[in-house]
Structure formats: structure tokens, C-alpha cells
Point group: C2
């Protein structure tokens, strides 16, 4: 059985998006800097990024991806990403947790599921011996942590203080001990891997 | 002229103390785990820690200390630390920012100063070519960051989610870009050094 690995990029002050994130505005005001590491430098929603992920990050991403068998995201993330243009960006079974599973689009790119519990169960079955990645948003990662089903947590910290937006741990009141699995840093992010005790 | 270096230990969810910190209770409920790295393992306020700082952390601390010429702390930190038993724990000029500088104790261990601006000015003068360390609390570090006077920021992340307490960036609304200076990890903490752009 694979593990459940939650992972998300935050600012130094703990935001996973700047103010006003959502459909058409992605990561909110200033929030695109959180993902500079993804594009290898500053980028905007209007232009194609003119740089590529740094080789060390690309190598990490490739290794991480090779261990994954399924991905779970929240409905807000799906909407804020503008449905990834209707195409599953992961090339893996992709489960979207939503209160309105009946709104699942045709085509089979996304599996809408009515609860985190069901989504994790289905994702684990689809992943087999591989890992399930809980990609966010913040609320879904909080739910997953609170449910005790997260085996590992990866926090990717972008070198920016946003001063506002959506906080990863907003309203989270659980006390959870973690254990270091490792850390690495590239120009645009610090990657910290934890095991949940 | 030395730099102004702010540095503090936080939980993964951004707390510099657990719930109810203050005089007699130090870092609040569960907050003592933030400083496991200082004592090389779990410790309590009631017993002398029976372990020592890990050699790699001790080496880092020694190097960091050798560059420092003065330290600035907030009055709350001074009180929560129970005045460090009346003894300056740094063996360096130590400035305490307080609204009531007239309450400075006799003996010269601590220099009470009425504003952050004055404290930084006096600390810089005392430090000469060496660096000034702003050790906290959270409010003082936020003030220092907002004033534009911080050159470097070190966030020491302890591997625990506290789920409550005092947040480093509580109410902070500035947008500040940082640049990586480096990262390292030991058993009980991840040390991330940033330059403030």
C-alpha cells in the first residue's frame, strides 16, 4: 500500500494564495510568485513563462511523480485552476472532492467525489502500491491532516512574505508531531519533507 | 557596519509560542517543543534538560554568535523568559524595547529603550562592525520587518504543528521579497536563511 502524501507551496508567512484567489485570478494578488519554482522564474498568467523549471527541481519533480499513483484535490483548487482547461494535468487518476459530485464533467478527465474519505479510498485503490498525493487546497490538506490519514507532508516554501491571502493552517487546531524526512533548496523554493508521527 | 538579522523559531504552522505563553509558562502549551533543537531533545521547564544541543547546531550557533555585536528583544519576550533570572544570557549588549524604559532594573544587564528605532540605533552603535540580532518576540520582528531595517531573516522551523498560539506573522500585511541565503536541517529544526530584498 502506498502512502498519502500532502504537499503544497506556501509563502514564508504561510499563505497558499495571495488575496482574492479564484477562477480567472489563480493564486491571487502576488500569489503567482509562490510558483516561480514551477516555471523557473517570475511569470504571469498573461504570458507563457519564458523560463523552465530548474534542472534540480525538474529532477525532484520527476522522481516524486514516478512514485505517485493518484492525486486528490479540492473543488476550489479545481475551479481556481480554471479546470486546467478541461484536461487532467497529472496523467494519473485525479479525484476532486466536492459537495456537488453530480457536476462532474463528461470525458473522464476528473473524478468528482462527495467526500474526502471516499476520495482517499478511491485514490488509494487506483494508486495500488503507489502513493496518493493530496495537492490542496489548504482546506483539503487541513481536513486530510485532521483525519489522521496523511503519512507525509511536504511544505514547499517560496521566498516571499505575502502579507495576506489564504493560509494553509487557517483555523487548524490540531497538535501534530512531525519528523524530518529531508530538506533541499533551489533558487525559488525550500522543500521540507515531513513524516506525520 | 554590521547587518540587522532577525531570527526566531516557529512551528510548521507559524507559531512562535503555543497557547497561553508568558511569565512562568515560557513558550505556552506545547510550545517548549519549538526549542527542542536548543536542548538537543524534549525538555520541560521543571527539569534540567538531560541532553545537549546537537553538535551541528552548536557549531552553527557558535558561528552565528561570533558575528553578533548586540541583541534586541521585546519586553514581552523579556517577561516571558522571566528576565532570564536577571542575567543577560547573551554576554553582549542587550536592548529591550519597552513602553516603560524607566523600569530598567539596576545592574546594567539589560538596556531598556523606549522604541524599536532607538533600540536598533543603540544596538548598531554598540555592535560596531558586527551584526545586530533581533530575537523577537513576534511583534518586534514584525515591527522590524515593516520598518525596512531588517537585512536578513532566519526562520528556524521546528517539526511540529501547534494548532494555536502566537503567530509570527499575525496581522502582518506587508509584501516583502526575500532571497535564499541557505538552508540546513538537524533532527529538531530546519534553519532557513533569507536576505530581505
Amino acid at each position: 500500500m502506498g502512502k498519502v502524501i500532502a504537499g503544497i507551496t506556501t509563502s514564508v508567512d504561510g499563505y497558499v494564495a495571495g488575496p482574492g484567489d479564484g477562477p480567472g485570478v489563480g493564486l491571487g494578488k502576488g500569489g503567482e510568485r509562490l510558483h516561480n519554482w514551477v516555471f523557473g522564474g517570475p511569470w504571469t498568467y498573461d504570458d507563457e513563462p519564458d523560463s523552465e523549471m530548474a534542472p534540480e527541481d525538474a529532477a525532484w519533480m520527476e522522481e516524486a511523480m514516478s512514485g505517485l499513483g493518484a492525486v486528490v484535490a479540492g473543488r476550489w483548487t479545481y475551479e481556481a485552476a480554471d479546470h486546467w482547461g478541461g484536461e487532467n494535468p497529472w496523467n494519473l487518476p485525479f479525484f476532486i472532492v466536492t459537495h456537488r459530485p453530480e457536476e462532474q464533467p463528461e470525458g473522464g478527465a476528473f473524478n468528482f467525489v462527495g467526500s474526502l474519505e471516499d476520495a482517499l479510498a478511491q485514490a488509494k485503490e487506483a494508486a495500488g502500491d503507489k502513493h496518493v498525493h493530496v495537492m490542496g487546497g489548504a482546506d483539503l490538506i487541513r481536513q486530510a491532516l485532521a483525519s489522521g490519514q496523511v503519512d507525509e507532508l511536504t511544505i514547499i516554501v517560496a521566498p516571499v512574505i505575502l502579507g495576506g491571502g489564504k493560509q494553509l493552517f487557517e483555523g487548524f487546531t490540531e497538535d501534530i508531531e512531525l519528523e524530518h524526512k529531508g530538506v533541499r533548496q533551489s533558487q525559488y523554493a525550500t522543500f521540507i519533507d515531513y513524516a506525520v508521527k
